[in-house]
Symmetry: D2
């Protein structure tokens, strides 16, 4: 059941086929396969991703690189927004901001993105990344991102 911070409404999708549309677009993101980031769950206005700890994605102290967290958080924001868009729209990130709250150490990472405010052109999302070790889960990063619906722009298809 999606919850949205400060905004308890459950969003209505404009496209009953939203889940297949998100899955198809996610599958075209080659960066997701390269970084082993998987799409776990899609609801109207909420998307969950997961990826395992990978030594080859670390920064100098052996934590997952902040940019890798940003990649997953941005993707979660983008598809949370995309799930509420009309079928002919493509989604682009305009900007995002991430706070790194704790070292990204753990066996596995779970990332949840949610729409805070949907709009015809601009959708604002928040996302959180949790490091999981055994049955423990710790918030390691949070993001606010601004996503734009784009229709009929050269080279950008939904």
């Amino acid at each position: 059941m999606p919850t949205n911070p400060g905004s308890p409404e459950v969003f209505e999708q404009r496209d009953p086929n939203y889940r297949a549309r998100v899955e198809a677009s996610f599958a075209r993101q080659k960066a997701m396969g390269t970084l082993k980031i998987a799409l776990v769950r899609v609801e109207p206005g909420e998307v969950e991703l997961a990826f395992p700890y990978q030594d080859e994605l670390t920064q100098q102290h052996g934590f997952i690189h902040a940019g890798v967290l940003a990649t997953a958080l941005d993707t979660a924001c983008g598809y949370a927004a995309f799930s509420l868009m009309s079928p002919e729209a493509a989604v682009l990130s305009i900007e995002f901001k991430i706070n790194l709250l704790a070292p990204a150490q753990g066996d596995r990472f779970r990332v949840v993105g949610r729409v805070v405010k949907p709009g015809r052109t601009i959708t604002v999302c928040q996302a959180e990344a949790f490091a999981q070790s055994g049955d423990k889960s710790k918030l390691v990063a949070s993001m606010t991102g601004t996503m734009m619906a784009v229709v009929d722009r050269d080279g950008i298809t939904h």
Copy 2:
């Protein structure tokens, strides 16, 4: 010659060995090797990185994923800050914000990070990413990041 937006000063490094220190830390970032991001230039308060277009790092429209740009920009910010820190300090990103200004299309990407305001604990940096095709260069993303000097924290070494 480093230039800093709004702050024309040339920074003095506290550690004459700053370049070797940056290079050694960068070499420990396994994510850099995985994403083929290279360290091109290190000056006091300024670092330049570069990476080629890679199909396996794209988002759904074939552009380089915003998170990959963020990874390079964050790293450029981090090492620009680290170049001015004292030898016993480690550097961590507290937060960063990226604006995506144009589709990340090109043969090669150049990323320049600069210190805007150095500090004992907190250093603020800006970074820009340029897409290069032939002899053309286009600004595709900009970042502002806040970096922290950390001394004597468990599991975090310089």
Copy 3:
């Protein structure tokens, strides 16, 4: 009862006198009196402010200026962080980011700031501003802010 997005823990204050300390510092912020922003509620890690619509604080379309919202949101973040700090610390804002979600129209504005991640030096907060008209409340802006505890710095007292 304070709730924190993505982090359901209730924070423990380090200083049993936190409420009086927040109130005394708030009273020294002359900008609060000038903008008629009142301190409504203080809990450990959570602060609520309120202010009426004021024609003299509007932007060109008659909405409350985004910067005025930012002033209240930043103050709510700062005192949410300050409520968890030790008695000898002062609080400074390092940075904040605000998203304007809807036009700031209404009779009265309520602003709630919460600690997301407390720390010895760095505390990350989120805050939300709601426009209220009659019995309706609408989320109009959200902020993420990074606050720093400062001890023994010239000219900065708790």
Copy 4:
């Protein structure tokens, strides 16, 4: 002569009447009069504001409140963007992020906003605030903001 960080181009205005249009809109921002923020200079894609130190706009340590700086920086960003828009557009801030770089102490404050990337719908700007005392000037805050051109929306006129 306007300069834009990372983007040395001089922008062309779409509306030869841009200066009068900015001045008229600025004059409708009642918050500017209340906070004594003056419009000093308007160029295509660049706007300069100024305001004196005012005791009634301070935070708890006697510095100008970060939210007041944000108000001026956001306005400078908005009108830098607006100066390049077509005559029928209104401008709204979508989001902004500010870094506080030094205590806002001084006799007078100068704020310069510049367009980094203009666009039909979205324009990205940067702005800087300088504290001035005698003939000294110090960078105290920087902002990145995302501005939107709005046409034909209820209640929002250019």
